[in-house]
Amino acid sequence: MHDRSSSGLHLLHDTESSKTVNPQDLPFTVQGMTVAYHHKPVLWGVSYSAPKGCLTAIIGPNGAGKSTFLKAALGLIPKLSGDTKVFGAPIEKVLKRIAYVPQRSAVDWDFPATAIDVVLMGLYGQIGWFRWPSRKHRQKAMDCLKSVGMQDFANRQIGQLSGGQQQRVFLARALAQDSEVYLMDEPFAGVDAATEKAIVAVLRQLVADGKTVLVVHHDLETVRDYYSHILLLNGQHVADGPVETTFTAENLQKAYGGRLASTQLDGLSEASNA
């Protein structure tokens, strides 16, 4: 576990960000990324650098390329241009410093695996080729299940878990990866209130431990409560920065266009004045 006192340092560092930033201090930087599916562009020249040690929401309308942004940045899908640096190094060299949580629908939950099996998969990178997980790895996987409140379900086949429980298993797997940067694709999609609370607690703990966390998020009403920073996308980079200054009606209008009812916008800007 990381020293808790270090999180304060990160915040200090962040607010006083000097003009000459050392690229090795930037946890996750994407330069000019363009992605197209079947000749139809999804993302145009998106450049972005994630603030270190912060919890950032990636928001934008449906089809804005939020999931695509994460997948392409990780090199999981082909892109036309753009590159990703993690602490100044090309991402493919430092995959172990990044943990990625795919959407729950990305996998087959009928797979013959138990909850602890899935969490153990997060440790495969550390275990390496050819070797089998040891008791130590099993212990660690169990600890991660505990921290999302799923220890009682360790030996349950994953298809017999509820949606929220499945999402928590995914989260435990990401924790097991013990990375410095966490990229999560809609962890809150279709989960119950208890799971939502558990996930938020884990995200906060990660940030307190000095990790950098990026989350694709859908529910605009909770953005202000959960996150300190946002990245707004709508095929292009619209805006990014701290919630207080960036999560404004004006920026949202730009990202969502007519798709966001004006009453919704009013509600959100009222919240920002409060």
Binding site: H38, H39, K71, L74, G75, L76, L95, K96, I98, Y100, P102, A106, V107, D108, F111, P112, A113, T114, D117, V118, M121, G122, Y124, G125, I127, W129, F130, R131, W132, P133, Q157, R173, Q177
Partner: protein, 313 residues
């Protein structure tokens, strides 16, 4: 006894080993929703087999297997290429490549005059299981005699080696095959390329398919890639246990399938026996049906019973 050793045992070994090689790999095909890949690959490898045969002029040679492996790799790369350039869905690309390569194999087969030898349609469908004989065996002690063992038919020895390869492949890459089958995105992000793992799985499938194909024909090959794995899946939620169960299901299908084919009609008073490869596939299918009906957790019977118990509460 010596009749059993000379005529029955080799056929049982051949059928069981062919079933085992395909049955074990089938687990991963079924989990990756590529169950019919075994079928497709057994067609794609035809030009490779024929070219291998042209080099050595003997069936069940290693050259044929190399040709098959090469043809499988070629097919997978070609599918990827067509998918990218032609901008079509993977299923369409597969359809184009599989049929074209099979057709090419048939053309080479006919044009080079090899069609009459051993590579004909009947053998392709039903295989050559009953023709395996081991004339050097006279007593049970021969089973421990290395020199006599080495006189086993070439196809059995070859399948034995292929099974060893398959088992080593699965043990070495168990973790990697598991993660890339379950979650390709995570697998890729951890540095275990699902593409390379998928390709190596397909090459192993091609090798197993060819080794089994020349011995027992394509019907058995297709059945064995799917049935034991699907049977085992009904009985457990643990992938390791599933692999063991599928192995046992494959071997027992080989054993009982042959025994039923050879002696079943005799027990009923008929003077003939039926195709052993066909009967092995039938037994594998029956295993699947039994598992679907009576599996403790997923079987229809137990599920009904649970529902009824639930309803009466």
């Amino acid at each position: 006894m010596d009749i059993f050793l000379q005529f029955d045992l080799p056929s049982i070994l051949l059928g069981s080993l062919a079933a085992l090689a395909c049955g074990l790999l089938g687990n991963f095909l079924v989990l990756r929703k590529q169950a019919l890949m075994g079928d497709a690959i057994s067609h794609v490898v035809l030009p490779g087999i024929v070219i291998g045969f042209l080099f050595t002029h003997e069936t069940s040679s290693w050259a044929m297997m190399l040709g098959a492996g090469g043809a499988a790799i070629f097919a997978v790369l070609l599918i990827e290429l067509i998918r990218r350039i032609g901008n079509v869905e993977p299923g369409a690309a597969m359809g184009v490549v599989f049929t074209t390569m099979f057709a090419a194999g048939v053309v080479i087969l006919e044009q080079t005059g090899t069609a009459g030898v051993h590579l004909d349609v009947e053998h392709a469908l039903y295989g050559n299981l009953e023709s395996a004989i081991w004339l050097d065996a006279y007593s049970l002690s021969d089973l421990w005699n290395w020199q006599v063992l080495m006189t086993l038919p070439e196809s059995i020895k070859q399948l034995f080696v292929v099974n060893m390869l398959v088992i080593v492949f699965i043990v070495l890459f168990f973790k990697e095959l598991k993660i890339s089958s379950f979650d390709p995105l995570l697998s890729a992000s951890l540095g275990f390329s699902p593409k390379w793992l998928g390709l190596s799985l397909i090459v192993m499938v091609a090798i197993a398919a060819v080794a089994a194909f020349t011995a027992v024909g394509s019907i058995l090959v297709i059945a064995m890639f799917i049935c034991p794995a699907a049977t085992a899946r009904m009985l457990t939620d643990n992938l390791k246990v599933q692999l063991f169960i599928s192995g046992i299901a494959s071997l027992s299908a080989g054993l009982f399938g042959y025994l039923l084919a050879a002696f079943g009609p005799g027990l009923l008073g008929y003077e003939f026996s039926v195709s052993a490869a066909g009967m092995i596939a039938v037994v594998a299918g029956l295993q699947q049906v039994l598992a679907m009906l009576f599996a403790p957790q997923y079987g229809v019977v137990m599920r009904r019973r649970r529902q009824r118990a639930h309803a009466s509460v």
